[in-house]
């Protein structure tokens, strides 16, 4: 049975006919929309490589059926930068060497952006470590990831202060 669904992906509305309800958001993005920035590390919600934002919240896209998310607003790593202008989190990941092989990186960055929006960790490194623990990094770039998040958080706080001043 075919199901029509529509999603907003990185700002653009996309309408699909889904011929198979088994398709996860992750496999929809990767194999049908060819948005391969989002990675599959475990496919079971145990590594975080597939993290995307759905309606502003970070989730594991491997454990989300596309069909159930009809109408959702999705942000993936491909939608974060504006052309060559990187999001502060992206730039901070480069500056602080917050990755090595880079495979977990899209998920780490989406998770970091989601975490900042959740506003639970602030600039406390210990809370950042805890709140970023859903993203495994086998290369062991955790120190750089925490530094990158702190740096980006600081920059965004500054920008917000300037805006509100």
């Amino acid at each position: 049975m075919n199901h029509s669904i529509s999603l907003t992906v990185n700002g653009a509305r996309r309408d699909f006919v889904l011929d198979d309800p088994r398709v996860t958001l992750l496999d929809l993005l990767r194999e049908r929309l060819h948005l391969t920035g989002t990675k599959k590390g475990c496919d079971r919600g145990q590594c975080g490589a597939c993290t995307i934002l759905v309606d502003g919240k970070r989730i594991n896209s491997c454990l989300a059926l596309a069909i159930s998310h009809d109408g959702a607003d999705i942000l993936t790593i491909e939608g974060v930068a504006r052309g060559d202008q990187l999001h502060p989190v992206q730039a901070a990941f480069i500056a602080h060497d917050g990755f090595q092989c880079g495979f977990c990186t899209p998920g780490q960055i989406m998770s970091a952006i989601g975490m900042m929006q959740e506003a639970q960790a602030g600039n406390d490194p210990e809370r950042i470590r805890e709140c970023m623990s859903g993203n495994l990094c086998r290369c062991g770039a955790y120190a750089g990831i925490v530094d990158a998040v702190l740096d980006a958080q600081g920059q965004m706080d500054e920008t917000n202060q300037r805006r509100s001043a």
Binding site: R44, P106, R138, Y142
Partner: protein, 753 residues
């Protein structure tokens, strides 16, 4: 795949250039925007999905596969089985060279380990292929599996690791032990561990006319190419492998395993491009692992805490059908100056996928046992663990008596201890608490890893516009080859890094050797060094032989390449640009090749190793036994540091692996079935962000004129060694409980409260 454009990173993110500079990653922009293309990100038109079905038994035979049920599933195109598959040109069981491992290519119904590939389902969609594989519902004739370190009769393998002798000795260990004032005799166990790179093994493969086009992560492009060529009977120049980025390798992508071969077979079977990606649980079998070990260490000391003997025996396992033996005891060859040392190995065969090199193979397993034993010996002598290590500092390599090509370990101990504050450590365990009442313990370990070199070749060119080219089939698995090797290339070509087109990651480029053994930067770097020097020499020849050139008559040795110009060594104001030289000569470009290789004479004369000292602080709940590392300092001397930023990251990563070795990682095998019961990332624990404390790395300056032309020793693996023992020793110091079975578990620490 489009040509990689690595210079698209915004300029403000770069910090300086060339060797020694902490350049940010040149592939960073691609990686943070999701544009870096890993193998499974490719989608050639008409591509089908292939999913492997694996065995749930560890030993026996597949007697039935419900191929019909799988084929009935909508979208399934074909099912590849031992009865229905393209023939290979050679038997995949034949070892054509020592770097070939036996693999399962559906050539038999025999099952030799759990998670062995037994069929491949090919379908229009991933969902259909996945369900098709489930529908095969295999039936088996099951035989009792061999499981564990006592599975059967042990034997002494002919070699361990890659060609290391199984036994080594110097001096009389038994006499040394007999004469010792104090002795320890301790047995340690390490579990099976799985590489678990974040990127599952994957292949996207298609025929392009009579050529095979392959996207596949590999740490050895040319070895993989040669293996594909022999298995499929294809000429080398008809195979093109792209591996621009590996999502981690750690050894598991070093040698071609069975799964990518099945992908190539599948594309041959159905005549369409294929994508085959391993599921996470399927990575616990056909793609290598670190074998378990049981290691007995016997140490003796004289009245002053000097070692009189060191005996290190390691039991390990290999598969029932191939040979790789974790060379754990070899860790005792280089570090401590015992007058008598003996290392030996034995093994049993078990129903497991063949073990393989996994980040610091032998060094990691051996190090945690040796460093624990050294700690136990120091305690038995009533000595501070650092003082004990200094007392037994090896001025020459103990097992061979050779001098070290360089060894700044004393400086590592000093600088690491000072940064950590080691001097304040209590000798007695279970003395320190934090403000919350948690037990605090400090431990240390010595790190060491051999400075290896393999064979590599590079091609360099200077083009008419004055820019440079450096080509080498190098592999970036996260260590930063795209950046570090380009830095070396830029220096050798006398150009700014943005003026060098650095090409790597494909099989059509010159052979960079395998990315392993912490030797890739050294090996590929040496080839780049030599190719760069050769092309500059050719350029210099053009100039110095031309009377119209300001360099005329200077001779090759009399010029320096710098900033895109050749200048006279004796008068740097006289020179001309590369472009001018080539324009006048009417040459489009000059090119040259160069090689990197080990220097047998230097190897004969010197022991070559990187060294380090790792200090760890742990906190342990005194009643509940939960452990967390709260601080680690590692001081490492590894020769020349090409890119300090990435070297620090590599060392951090290694230290985290050490922490993980001591506290987390373990594959749990059901002893009745031989199945791994935690073949996933939820229950096979690797550290999460919250497990990793603030880390501190000191790179101790070290100049080594002998290891290779660039003085590089490599940093990819040394970080694990020392670190695992440091954490284990810190747990002892915190609790007073010596755990000799790793990883350390909560229940071991509940003995006191």
């Amino acid at each position: 795949m489009p040509e990689l454009n690595l210079t698209s990173a915004p300029a403000h993110l770069r910090h300086g250039s060339n060797i020694g500079q902490p350049l940010t990653r040149r592939d960073g922009f691609l990686k943070v925007t999701g544009q870096a293309t890993y193998a499974a990100d490719n989608h050639p038109p008409g591509m089908l999905f292939a999913v492997i079905a694996v065995s749930s038994i560890a030993h026996g035979r597949v007697t039935f596969l419900d191929v019909a049920a799988a084929k009935r599933h909508p979208g399934v195109v074909d099912v590849m089985t031992p009865e229905h598959k393209p023939q290979l040109a050679i038997d995949p069981e034949i070892k054509t060279n020592p770097f070939v491992f036996r693999m399962e290519a559906l050539h038999s119904n025999e099952v030799r380990y759990a998670n062995q590939p037994i069929a491949v389902v090919i379908a229009e969609t991933l969902e259909a292929a996945t369900e098709g594989a489930a529908l095969l519902a295999p039936r088996y004739e099951t035989l009792p599996p061999l499981v564990g370190l006592d599975a059967g009769e042990s034997f002494v393998p002919p070699v361990v690791g890659v060609g290391n002798p199984t036994e080594n000795h110097r001096g009389d260990v038994e006499a040394g032990l007999a004469a010792a004032e104090k002795q320890i005799d301790a047995t340690y166990e390490t579990p099976p561990q799985y590489h678990n790179a974040m990127e599952p093994h994957a292949i996207v493969v298609q025929w392009d006319g009579d050529s095979l086009s392959v996207d596949m992560p590999t740490q050895g492009l040319k070895l993989s190419l040669a293996r594909i060529a022999e298995l499929f009977g294809i000429a080398h120049d008809k195979i093109h492998i792209r591996s621009p980025f590996l999502g981690g390798g750690f050894g598991s992508k070093g040698l071609m395993g069975g799964p990518p071969v099945l992908g190539i077979m599948a594309t041959k079977l159905v005549g369409r491009p294929i994508k085959l990606v391993l599921r996470r649980e399927q990575m616990y079998g056909p793609v290598g692992h670190r074998a378990p070990t049981r290691q007995r260490l016997r140490l003796g000391t004289d009245g002053e805490g000097r070692l009189t003997a060191l005996d290190h025996h390691a039991r390990t396992v290999s598969s029932t059908f191939d040979d790789f033996y974790e060379p754990a005891a070899d860790a005792s060859h280089t570090l401590y100056a015992a007058p008598a040392i003996r290392t030996s190995h034995d093994a049993v065969r078990v129903n497991t996928g063949t073990p393989l090199f996994m980040r610091a193979p032998g060094e990691a397993t051996g190090s945690i046992a040796l460093e624990s034993a050294i700690d136990e010996m120091a305690w038995a002598c009533g000595m501070d663990p650092l003082a004990f290590r200094l007392k037994n500092y090896a001025e020459v390599e103990p097992i061979t008596g050779k001098p070290f090509s360089s060894k700044a370990l004393r400086a590592c101990y000093e600088q690491g201890a000072a940064r950590f504050g080691w001097a304040k450590r209590s000798l007695q365990p279970r003395q320190m608490r934090d403000d919350d009442g948690l037990l605090v313990g400090w431990g240390m370990g010595t790190a060491t890893f051999p400075a290896l070199m393999f064979q590599a070749e590079a091609r360099a060119a200077i083009r008419r516009d004055g820019s440079g080219v450096m080509e080498i089939g190098a592999h970036d698995m996260g260590q930063g080859a795209w950046t570090a090797l380009a830095q070396i290339a830029a220096d050798e070509l006398g150009l700014d890094i943005d003026r060098v087109a650095f090409k790597a990651g494909t099989s059509d480029l010159p052979d960079a050797g395998i990315a392993g053994g912490s030797a890739h930067t050294a090996t590929a770097g040496a080839a780049i060094h030599s190719a760069g020097a050769a092309v500059i020499a050719k350029l210099a020849e053009l100039a110095t032989g031309d009377e119209r050139s300001p360099l005329f008559g200077a001779g090759n040795a009399g010029v320096i390449a710098r900033g895109g110009r050749l200048v006279r060594r004796d008068d740097e104001s006289r020179g001309e640009s590369y472009a001018e030289i080539l324009a006048r000569a009417g040459v489009a470009e000059v090119e040259a090749r160069g090689t990197g290789a080990p220097n047998p004479a230097a190897m004969e004369e010197y022991a070559m190793h990187a060294h380090g000292a790792v200090f760890a602080e742990v906190k342990v709940d005194p009643e509940l036994g939960q452990v967390r590392v709260s601080r680690m300092v590692g001081a490492f001397a590894a020769g020349r540091i090409v890119n300090p930023r990435m070297v620090q990251s590599q060392l951090f990563g290694g230290m985290i692996w050490g922490l993980s070795f001591a506290l987390h990682e373990e594959a749990i095998t059901d002893r009745r079935t031989g199945r791994i019961m935690n073949a996933n990332l939820g229950e096979y624990h690797v550290p999460v962000n919250a497990d990793v404390p603030p880390l501190d790395v000191i790179t101790v300056e070290e100049h080594d004129p002998h290891v290779n032309a660039l003085g590089i020793k490599g940093v990819g693996e040394i970080g694990i060694t020392g670190s695992a023992g440091a954490v284990a020793n810190a747990v002892w110091h915190a609790t007073g409980v010596r755990v000799r079975k790793f990883p350390i578990k909560i229940e071991e620490l509940l003995t006191q409260s």
